[in-house]
């Protein structure tokens, strides 16, 4: 018996709205269809009528988990456009926060993977220890989620000796715990039974479907912008690109944990050789006409921003490509021939950040606070109009 089950737009396995239509034959998936567009905020259009400073915070809000990655990607592009050279200390702090963010994102992901597999104890423990890095980030930047530490030309907050000591101390704890979770994740039989061999993505497919980040690296494609295109501090620190050859969810767990350990290494190196000096230079309000492509290795994969300036204090065009969007074609491939029970795990294994991937359509061009209000009234108006124009069809087919 073949029938369709909807995973999303609202589903307990999804933390954000996306629609996956699964055609299943018993427990086996035979067809997958992805539908986006439930979480669009029109950021690219909105960015065109915000000035360079405001856009830092706008890009930061593309994502809640890798907020720093988008802001950094944007800021380093704008710095190139404005021909600014941020001070070394500022850069070190910026990429220190970036690596701390990678740590928090990967720990979060470990917990989510545990939760999707029904391994709630693992979830609770990883998230408990993630609090350590969240507290560090809060101490450095003043906020747990949207750090807002970037500014054009450097960073906004300096580190003092006490903070550096606290960070180093936190990293020691975290490293011990991460190694322990690696041991658990690779040895707990019921967990391994769920993730080994699940969501297979061959190396050829990973290349052809342009997969990025840990998904590509778990398939043996050593694609990491920090190594391929080293910028700022990444050619001064010593780290390795974590890869795995198992091409399954287990491989993605392994890659992420290895990356955690590499990140601890990078953080320690950055802190040890933290140069003295200023943390920021003053930025002009306007940028000369020009274009720049800015790349950044976010926790989920490569982030790419294309920024074009036209000489005013606002960008002509800001194109954002978040890593999750690049991984969708690969996800469809991975889900095929899997079990229903594997859907949440495979989907979670790309570490989906749906609000990252969907940012383009403009329904509302308003400040963040107004959006919900406008959207509510707008939706209500449209719902009424739609109801009047078209009577609701019973058993209507999904309109695609």
């Amino acid at each position: 018996m073949s029938f369709e089950i909807p995973i999303g737009p609202q589903h307990p396995a999804l933390k954000e709205p996306i629609s996956l239509r699964m055609t299943v034959e018993g427990e086996v998936i035979t067809g997958v269809d992805i539908r986006l567009g439930y979480n669009h905020r029109g950021l690219e259009k909105l960015a065109e009528d915000r000035n360079w400073i405001q856009n830092i915070y706008l890009t930061e809000r593309i994502c809640g988990i890798c907020s720093h990655s988008h802001a950094t990607c944007y800021v380093q592009g704008v710095e190139k456009l404005m021909e600014l050279a941020p001070p070394r200390r500022g850069l070190y702090i910026r990429y220190l926060v970036a690596e701390l963010e990678r740590i928090h994102s990967h720990l979060l992901w470990l917990g989510v993977a545990g939760h999707e597999a029904g391994f709630d104890s693992f979830f609770m423990y990883t998230w408990r220890d993630r609090e350590v890095v969240m507290d560090l980030l809060e101490m450095i930047s003043g906020n747990r989620v949207h750090y807002a530490i970037n500014t054009i030309g450097g960073v906004r907050r300096d580190l003092d000796a006490g903070q550096i000591a606290k960070i180093l101390e936190g990293i020691v704890t975290l490293r011990k715990r991460s190694e322990y979770y690696f041991y658990i994740g690779a040895n707990e039989p019921s967990f391994v039974a769920r993730i080994a061999g699940v969501g297979y993505l061959s190396k050829e497919n990973a290349v052809a479907l342009c997969a990025v980040g840990p998904v590509a690296r778990a398939s043996g494609v050593a694609r990491d912008v920090r190594k391929d295109d080293p910028w700022a501090v990444y050619d001064e620190v010593d780290f390795e690109v974590a890869t795995a050859d198992s091409c399954d969810v287990l491989g993605r767990v392994v890659v992420r944990v290895k990356e955690l350990l590499e990140s601890y290494k990078i953080c320690e190196q950055l802190l040890k050789s933290l140069p003295a000096g200023d943390i920021a230079v003053k930025a002009p309000r306007k940028a000369k006409p020009g274009e720049v492509v800015s790349r950044y290795e976010a926790p989920r994969g490569e982030n790419i921003h294309y920024i074009k300036a036209n000489g005013t204090d606002k960008p002509e065009r800001l194109k954002v490509r978040a890593p999750t969007l690049a991984n969708y074609p690969a996800t469809v491939e991975m889900l095929r021939k899997g079990f229903i029970a594997d859907i949440p795990l495979i989907f979670a294994a790309i570490d989906p950040c749906i609000c990252c991937a969907e940012r383009t359509v403009t329904l509302i061009a308003a400040g963040s606070g107004e959006e919900s209000v406008v959207r509510m009234s707008d939706l209500r108006r449209r719902a009424i109009a739609r109801h009047q124009n078209a009577p609701v069809k019973r058993n209507a087919v999904w309109p695609l």
Binding site: Q54, I56, E60, G142, I184, E188
Partner: protein, 143 residues
Amino acid sequence: MKIAVFLPELLRHLFKKPATVDYPFKKLEVPKDFRGTPYLNPEMCIVCKACERDCPAEAIEITSVNEAEKRFKMIIHNDRCIHCAQCVDSCPTTPKAMLMDSLFEIADDDRHKMKKDWVYVRAVLKPKAAAPAAAPQAAEPKA
């Protein structure tokens, strides 16, 4: 393959104190430079409107109440504020006219109650050296 690898860790925690905090009955301290809610120190504001221009959420609104008296009104829409503290960074005076406190429990069931406004006379700052003691007579704060 081992069996029950998580067991020692779980049993170890059975009689330990929980890691979670009994919020809202007990509260954690926020760090020193926590970005809470913005507020205005009207004695220092020179109405340059840098904060209004740079606010990403358009949460700051400065209007003129009385042109002749140089009386202005600032409204901070806390319902829109995204707590980025860019207004503090943009503020050109020393000490800053825009500041952040450490309040984080500012939720309300009415958006109107989340607005804060100040009516004040524009501060006239002396040259930079004397800035800290600037123009106390000009201020007339009103919450």
